[in-house]
Every structure is written in C-alpha cells, then in structure tokens.
C-alpha cells in the first residue's frame, strides 16, 4: 500500500471527466487500498475521489464514521456511483485536499439516495443525509471535473434555518 500524491488546483487535470470502471480485478483492489490510505493520511479527510490522485476512473471513497453523533454508512467504496434522488438543500462549509488553505460555503442536497458498485462489482443502494450526503456529493463532483470552488456561494449567504411549526 502507498499514500498517493494528491493533485492540487490549479492543475487543470482536476477538471477532467472520469470514465466508468469496467473490470473489477486485483489491480482495482490494490488501487482502492492505496486510495483509502491516501484519504486517511489527509488531515480530517472524510472522502476522496480517484481523480484527485490523477486516476480518472469513476471511483470515490467516503467514510464519515469517525464523526460523532451523525448517521453514516461506514466506509463506502463507491464505484460508478449514481445519485438517484435529491431532497432538501443546506448550506455547509467545505474544504478539499486538492484546494489547500481555503474553505467555502456550498449548497448541497440534505438527503440523497445513490447506487454504486462495491469493490466486487456488486450494485449497492445507499441512503445518505447531512454531513455524509455532503461528502458524497463533493466526491462525485470530482468525477465530473467539478470542484467545490465551482459551487461557492457568498460567505454572506445564509439560509435562515427553517423553524419547525407544530
């Protein structure tokens, strides 16, 4: 296993669109292990996309389980992922291992459902919300050459929290 080099913006290759994974073989497993190790080596990194290490296949890993008191699906290996439904909107603060020394506000869906293959190529369904849903949307953007910088909203923008009426 090895910690891979993270590409940093303004490297334009981060804008490249990744291609679907076709073969689920040992090479893929080895790459997944390296990608996960790279994610865990980053300070506070809860997700990574293959594009961030210059591998343009539709692969992302998200693991927010270290965060206390939130719903999560454990360590999600997301291969050829596809978001099926989006629900709600929320502003949250994001940073990116490919964009050091900057965090900014981004609007994401609060809840999503998605389908993705696991490391064995089996199709899995997931429901994500909140912090985990944000991480998944951030990583899947990388597969389409999008950075959170493409979705920034003004730091002044603040959606007043919806009060719950009884």
């Amino acid at each position: 296993m090895a910690v891979l080099d993270i590409l940093k913006y303004p490297d334009e290759v981060l804008k490249q669109i990744s291609e679907p994974v076709e073969s689920f073989d040992n090479e893929l497993l080895a790459f997944l292990a390296d990608l996960e190790e790279t994610m865990r080596a980053g300070p506070g990194g809860v997700g990574i996309a293959a594009a961030q290490v210059g591998n343009f296949r539709r692969i992302a890993i998200v693991d927010v389980s270290a965060k206390p008191k939130i719903k999560h699906n454990g360590c999600m290996i997301l291969i050829n992922p596809e978001i099926k439904t989006w629900d709600g909107m929320k502003i949250g603060r994001e940073g990116c291992m490919s964009v050091p020394d900057y965090t900014g506000n981004v609007i994401r869906a609060e809840k999503i459902t998605l389908q993705a293959c696991n490391a064995k190529g089996e199709l899995c369904d997931y429901e994500c919300e909140g912090y985990e849903a944000r991480a998944v949307q951030h990583e899947l953007d990388h597969l389409d050459g999008m950075l959170f910088l493409d979705r920034l909203v003004s730091r002044r923008t603040d959606l007043f929290k919806r009060k719950k009426y009884k």
């Binding site: 980053g42 300070p43 506070g44 990194g45 809860v46 997700g47 990574i48 996309a49 998200v62 965060k67 949250g92 603060r93 994001e94 940073g95 990116c96 291992m97 050091p100 020394d101 900057y102 965090t103 912090y131 944000r134 991480a135 951030h138 990583e139 730091r155 002044r156 603040d158 929290k161």
Partner: protein, 173 residues
Amino acid sequence: MSEWKMLTLVGQDKPGIVAKITTALFDAGAKLGEASMMRLGGNFTIMLMVKSDQSIDQLDQSIDSVVKAMSLTSSFQNIEASLHQHEIPDTRITVYGADRPGIVSKATTHLLDAGFNILDLESDVAGSEAEPIYIMHIEGIAAHGSDALEKAVEQIKTNGVNVDMTPIDVMIG
C-alpha cells in the same frame, strides 16, 4: 525587500473604484494579497493587502491621481502579514433585533468572555429609518468550547435580541 502593506481606502461609492485602484497598483508593479471590499452606508471601503518594493510614499504617489479624481481617502501602512494562514471557523453566530445603542458591545463582550475569537464579522442596519433593525453575522472559533458559548448566547438573548448559534462542521474531501 518587499513587505506587505495594508491599503485602507474609503470614499463615496461610485463605479470604477476597484478597477482603477487595482490597475494603478498593478502598473506600479505591486502584488495584491487578500482583500475585503464592501459598501457601507453609501461609501465604498477597501482593505487590501499590497506587496511591493516601493515605499509607502511611492505607493501613495502611484494611486494619487485615482484617489484625487474619485475623491477618495486612502492610506498604506506597514503590516506584519503572510498568506496561507487561514484559520477555520467552527461556529457561526447570527444576532438580530431592533437596533439600539450597545447591542454590538454587549453581544461581542459576552462572546469574548466565553472565549470566542471573531474571524469575520459583517453587520447591517436594515428596516426603516423609524424602526431600524440590526443584523450581524459572525464567524469564529469557540476556544473554550461550545458550552461556554451557549451560556453567552443565552445572556445576549435576555434583552430581546435574537441570537442563533450554528456549528460550522467543515467537510474536507
């Protein structure tokens, strides 16, 4: 050796202030760093980091014609500064209510006592002339933890001021 200076500039808002000032600085070979620019009470205000081999007098000279033509007030000062030093805020606090004397002082003093370090503060006076309202957004770091901060928030609320405290949970991926 080039060092950072802070340019502080203010004047009645009109189109072209930013473009003309930054062009004059660029033409003088200065490098720009981080900035905060905004309209406050009909004035346009600039706080801009400028790095240059030139002295403060020379920098003043380089923007002098723009400053005079646009009736601005400006000054450069030497600062100890560097880039790539962003602190990540962990809490956002919104305060709003009927505008009255002391609202900012009271709120920020309670926050200070609770160990809150302000990184960013923006405020507006809105509403009508007869009944102004005050709205303040603050981002910062709760150095003594969120429990202390929650107590401070409760104290700020006692005067009919609305306070909302939200953790900023930065997702890095």
